[in-house]
Symmetry: C2
Subunit: 314 residues, 2 copies
């Protein structure tokens, strides 16, 4: 593919920053890549992986002359980083981010963006439960959504260039209002994470059932929750601190529904239980049909097909 940006600067080089660097380089989308991260150890890791052309602990150094700057730190670090780099940004540069929350990002960063620099907030909806530069891989964004939330009046060309970049990384790009984005992710991502963190915590803290029993017998459902409850703690702390209102709103609905379900269990209302369980199964089907999931049983942990065919063919 052709070069879309002469210089890409990534501030923060965890799972997301590392994956952007690898994908952009593999597909030839940028002339050069600079990465900046505060911790020397993380920077060494990035250097050992050969992720970029230049490495710095100084974000100002990394963003100098960059045409595209993407903030890939936890959301809580965006504001100090932006204050730091504002004076070093090249006129005409695009500043974006990879934060999971958008309303807060717009509110805190927009006033800090210098005249002549284009601010296009972004959220690549992709990730795994692993973190750090070594967890990155270039296919991370393939077939995943990237939501951009530019405010009204943002330079159209800048939005188009950034969209083209994410599309070249394999993502489907969608433009959305920042506030609506935050509601969508509250229910599809933030509350599920909160609930997963919570149930793993509850199970870890029981006297009638030992921790070793919880671990031993986790395959019955519990372990699926532990995957998302293993996501980066600092990143997720910042998500809940910065998307508080939407999370509390969605959590309130979740709790309301759970009370109804709790009552159905208490009153042995089998019909109500079966009705809900049948409805949720259909939603799974829709997600698979939409290409957002595989139908492999048990997340492909086992390989049933060849043997089943053997038996049938005998």
């Amino acid at each position: 593919m052709s070069v879309l940006f002469e210089k890409l600067a990534l501030v923060g080089v965890g799972l997301i920053g590392s994956s952007i660097a690898q994908a952009a380089r593999q597909k030839g989308l940028v002339g050069q890549i600079s990465v900046a991260t505060r911790r020397a150890k993380t920077l060494d890791e990035a250097r050992n992986l050969g992720l970029a052309d230049s490495y710095s602990q100084d974000a100002c150094e990394a963003v100098a002359d960059a045409d595209l700057v993407i903030l890939c730190t936890p959301v809580g670090a965006f504001e100090p980083v932006m204050k730091d780099i504002a004076g070093a940004l090249k006129p005409g540069a695009i500043v974006s981010d990879a934060g999971s929350v958008k309303g807060h990002v717009v509110k805190t960063l927009a006033p800090l963006i210098p005249e002549g620099v284009h601010f296009v907030p972004g959220h690549p909806m992709a990730g795994t439960e692993h973190s750090g530069p070594g967890a990155g891989f270039p296919e991370l964004f393939e077939g995943r959504w990237c939501i951009l939330t530019p405010e009204a009046g943002t330079d159209k060309k800048a939005v188009e260039c950034l969209s083209a970049f994410w599309e070249a990384l394999g993502s489907d790009v969608e433009l959305m209002d920042a506030t609506h984005h935050d509601m969508v992710v509250a229910i599809t991502s933030h509350v599920p994470h909160l609930v997963a963190y919570n149930i793993v915590g509850t199970a870890d803290d029981m006297e009638t059932v030992s921790k070793s029993e919880v671990i031993k017998f986790s395959a019955g459902g519990f372990r699926d929750f532990t995957r998302i409850a293993a996501s980066d703690p600092v990143m997720w702390r910042d998500v809940f601190l910065t998307n508080r209102e939407a999370v509390l709103e969605m959590l309130g609905r979740f709790l309301e529904d759970l009370s109804v379900l709790q009552r159905a269990v208490r009153t042995s209302d089998g019909d109500a239980l079966e009705t809900l369980f049948t409805r949720t199964r259909a939603i799974r089907r829709s997600i698979i049909d939409a290409g957002q999931e595989t139908a492999a049983p048990d997340f492909g942990r086992t390989q049933p097909d060849p043997v089943r065919r053997d038996i049938k063919d005998r």
Copy 2:
């Protein structure tokens, strides 16, 4: 392997019954297999898969002369099935089951077991979100736990024979008190399922975020919940109806903890959030170390390693 039982009868032939049949035959553990299921369509499916030596809609016919009978229907059908087959059981036969709940099974079935027949309740802790005969595969039980909950005074030889059978299917067998079993599964399996069903239901029922958006953007965490919320509705209805007390007890704890977490979000208590999120990450690690899970990122939905190595080696 050597034949452990001359005749195995399976009453119910969904995911579990089908997998037992396939595994027992593949490993040569039984002389012959008979299956019974009420619905003609399911029986035809089993026949087309070649799962057994004989097929019947009449459970009495299937269990005649069987040395091992395993009830593989939803738990709610156990009592009528047992009343039906009691008179047809061979003296000395072992009756077991694959139900996810054990206290209720012991209470309802034990009084129905004829003199001279051994009752050894069992729970293979294995499954996928798919159901029906076609969903079964012989490796389902490999490396998984099978919990047996014989009451005091149960014939030792019968317990040993059944343990040997499950071990031959690849499972690790553990003996446990039925009541304790029900608490263990309430927290490791039943409450996680209830919570997953609930959040999928909540997301399906919103006015600010459309259903198509929930499906579209499900990769952020939500889709992991939909897998277990796609499990068999009737089986799970029966689980909650028959393990009500333990589920309500564990759900109460979950809700208590969730209130604390909700307050941490509301009061922006970042330290409390980060502390919990760090603790839950360690539990994930323990589950992987215990061999109950793979460390593949995102459940192995992507294949990061080869490419990452490429970049490193350049």
